[in-house]
Symmetry: C2
Subunit: 138 residues, 2 copies
DNA sequence: CACGAGTAGTTGCAGGTACAACTATAGCAG
DNA sequence: CTGCTATAGTTGTACCTGCAACTACTCGTG
C-alpha cells in the first residue's frame, strides 16, 4: 500500500526530470518561491516547506542559482539571513513545469481513481494532517 | 497531500534506523525473503518487489551479507543467477524489526485516522493498484 | 562595550542510489 | 559447433542527501 505511493511519486519525479531536467525537490522550491510575496523566501522557510535539511537546501539552491532560476541576496535586517528569489527565467520554468506536473498528477491519480475516491482521499489526508499540524511525524 | 506521506514514511524510516540500524529498503528485502519459499529469492525478483534498481539491490544485499542476515548462492539451473537466502540471524532480525514496524505503523497511521477512514483508505488503494497490476506507473 | 547563548547558513564527509558500461551465461538459428 | 541476441548480475562513476562541525551574526545581560 505504501508501495503504491512510492511508485506514483517516483513516476512523477522521472517525468519531471525527463521533461524539464528538474527534480521534484527543485520544482517544489520553485513553487514555494512562486507563491511567496515578492517571489522570495528565507532559506530555512523553504527548507521547512520542502522537507529537506538545511544543508540539502543550500546545495539545491546553489544548483538552481547556477541554472539561473533563482538569485540569492542577503537579508537587510539580519546579517545571517539569505533570501532566495525567483528570477524571470525561474518563473517561466515554473509555469512550464507546473503544466507537466498537473498533467502527470491527472494521469497517475485522477485517471485511476473515481471522483468519489478522489474526494474521500482528500478528506482523509486533510484529517490526517490536522492531527499533527507541525508535521513532526512521531 | 503528497507531503503527508513523505513525512510519514520518513518517520518510519528514521524509527527503523534508530532501533535496528536497518533502512526501510533493507527491511523490505528481509520481509520478501521471509515470505518466500525456502527463504530465498532471485536477485531480480527482489529488486522488482523492493522498487530498487538492480545495482542498488546488489549493494544492499552486499551490506546485508556483511551483517550476516543473508547469504548468497549461485542458482543451480542458471549459471548467471544468484539467490539471496535469509539466515537464521536474518530471520531473527526480521521478527524483531517487524514488531517495531507494526508498532510504528499503528502510531503513525492508525493513531491518527478513524477506523472508517482506515477502511476507506484501504479500499481506495486496492482499487488504485487494481488499475495497474504491473505497477509500472505511467 | 563585552560576553555568552542561540540562530542562519555553509562546508567536509560519508552513505545510498541510479545510470551506463561491462562480464558471464543462456537460448536459439544455421 | 559457431555466432548472435537476450538476460542476470556486478562495477565505475556521479549525484543527491543528511549529519556534524564550522563560521558569522543577533540578542539579551551585566
Amino acid at each position: 500500500m505504501l508501495q503504491a505511493h512510492a511508485r506514483a511519486t517516483q513516476a512523477l519525479d522521472t517525468q519531471m526530470r525527463s521533461e524539464h531536467h528538474l527534480s521534484v525537490s527543485s520544482y517544489e522550491v520553485l513553487m514555494f518561491l512562486g507563491d511567496a510575496p515578492d517571489r522570495r523566501m528565507r532559506m530555512s522557510e523553504i527548507a521547512d516547506g520542502v522537507l529537506l535539511s538545511r544543508s540539502g537546501l543550500t546545495r539545491l539552491v546553489d544548483r538552481l542559482c547556477q541554472l539561473g532560476y533563482v538569485t540569492r541576496c542577503a537579508a537587510e535586517t539580519d546579517g545571517r539571513g539569505q533570501y532566495a528569489e525567483l528570477t524571470d527565467a525561474g518563473a517561466e520554468k515554473l509555469r512550464a513545469a507546473r503544466r507537466t506536473h498537473l498533467r502527470g498528477v491527472r494521469e497517475v491519480f485522477l485517471g485511476r481513481l473515481s471522483p468519489t475516491d478522489q474526494i474521500a482521499l482528500g478528506e482523509i489526508w486533510k484529517r490526517f494532517l490536522a492531527t499533527d499540524p507541525a508535521g513532526g511525524g512521531c
